[in-house]
Amino acid sequence: MGEFKDIAHLIRLAGVFLFGLILFLVFRAVTIPKSFGQYGPFRGAALVELSSRPLAFAGHEACENCHPDVAELKAKGVHKSINCESCHGPLAKHADDPGNVKPVLPDVAQLCIRCHSENIAKPAGFPQVNVKEHFAGQACNTCHKPHSPGFDVGAKK
């Protein structure tokens, strides 16, 4: 034990290091969010925040639950693969509270030409019209019923 007799200064030094370590641990405990590392090297609460964002689009299953008649009609036509909210817009609020939030009917004049106006880059088989030539002063849905337009895909240009 003889060689350890003058270690008082070392103990003091160790004390300083220990104090630093404790400070570090306390600082770390206070500053790192509790959920950090829960799912990976990031703040787990951020995932909860991002995934708890409210919906705007309810999804077509929600529409079909209450409107099976429209879904059935649409399933027979060429528009069968188009989801309801693609034309009707985001309606999660209506799906949550159908009594009070009423959807607004889309403006056909704008709606149909979004997809069906002629464009050089559209796939050749896709039904397109020159709006000025095709349009006879009437709304599209005078002749074409949007839920079941009744034309074969690819029959026209």
């Binding site: 509790k34 959920s35 990976g40 951020a46 077509h60 693609s86 979004r114 997809c115 880059a121």
Partner: protein
């Protein structure tokens, strides 16, 4: 009770550990969704895209994307027969309001929808100095808006130009692959709104997902494969001129 210095030195670290434990509290309840069961990507079928802009509008409405910024957008390519290395690309207002009819010239014309590629080895997360951009266990690249300093490194790093600086939040912002929707069993807003099925959300860990049959029977590509970003945005029928 009287403590000497040695006892205090022994007690302090014990107290610190105890305090750490107290602060840790209960682990936050995980969402009702098992992340390890999913690995998200997306399939984009160029031949089906009609450039209607439904996806761009749907994304903006679902995610409150500020006016003039885009988490997803559509580009129209015109590739002249004699100039395939230099395609002409236009994307008026991100394609949100559709496209003008276009000139009839030789060459080919097609639409390319673009968005975050949800890279497995994403350049954006590698450059983030504060770890604000992270990978979820189900393969989505997200931004922690509380951590983000707004230094914009990630915006420069993304080789696909998919990030922007949010003018109100003053943080980087990007496509979240509608994380609030896919964790509830819904598809993304862009896929929900796409009228032709040109966009399909794909769960690569789900053996019943139609993506597997599709990948077996089609030649798909990712954007900028030479950058080895591990993009999970699979393009079917992608032209070589697309950048």
């Amino acid at each position: 009770m009287k403590l000497n210095r040695r006892q205090i030195l022994l007690l302090l670290p014990a107290a610190a550990v105890a305090w750490d434990f107290v602060l840790a509290g209960n682990p936050e309840s995980s969402p009702n969704y098992k992340m390890s069961d999913h690995w998200w990507g997306m399939l984009i079928d160029i031949a089906k895209c009609i450039g209607c802009g439904s996806c761009v509008r749907a994304c903006a409405m679902e995610n409150d994307v500020p006016e003039g910024y885009f988490r997803t957008w559509i580009e129209r390519y015109h590739v002249a027969d004699w100039h395939i290395e230099n395609p002409q690309v236009d994307s008026p207002h991100g394609g949100m309001d559709g496209f003008p009819p276009g000139k009839t010239e030789d060459g080919k014309n097609f639409f390319v929808p673009k968005m975050c590629n949800q890279c497995v080895d994403s350049p954006c997360s590698q450059v983030c100095p504060v770890g604000a951009t992270f990978h979820t266990p189900d393969g989505v690249v997200l931004v922690d808006y509380d951590y983000c300093l707004g230094c914009r490194y990630c915006i420069q790093a993304c080789p696909y130009g998919c990030r922007f600086f949010h003018p109100k939040k003053h943080t980087a912002d990007k496509c979240t692959l509608c994380y609030h929707r896919i964790t509830k069993g819904l598809t993304t807003a862009c896929c929900e709104a796409c009228p032709t099925g040109a966009r399909q959300l794909a769960d690569l860990k789900n053996p019943n997902d139609p993506i597997h049959a599709f990948l077996k029977t089609h030649s798909v590509q990712v954007l900028k494969p030479h950058l080895a970003t591990g993009s999970k945005l699979f393009y079917n029928g992608l032209d070589g001129s697309v950048r």
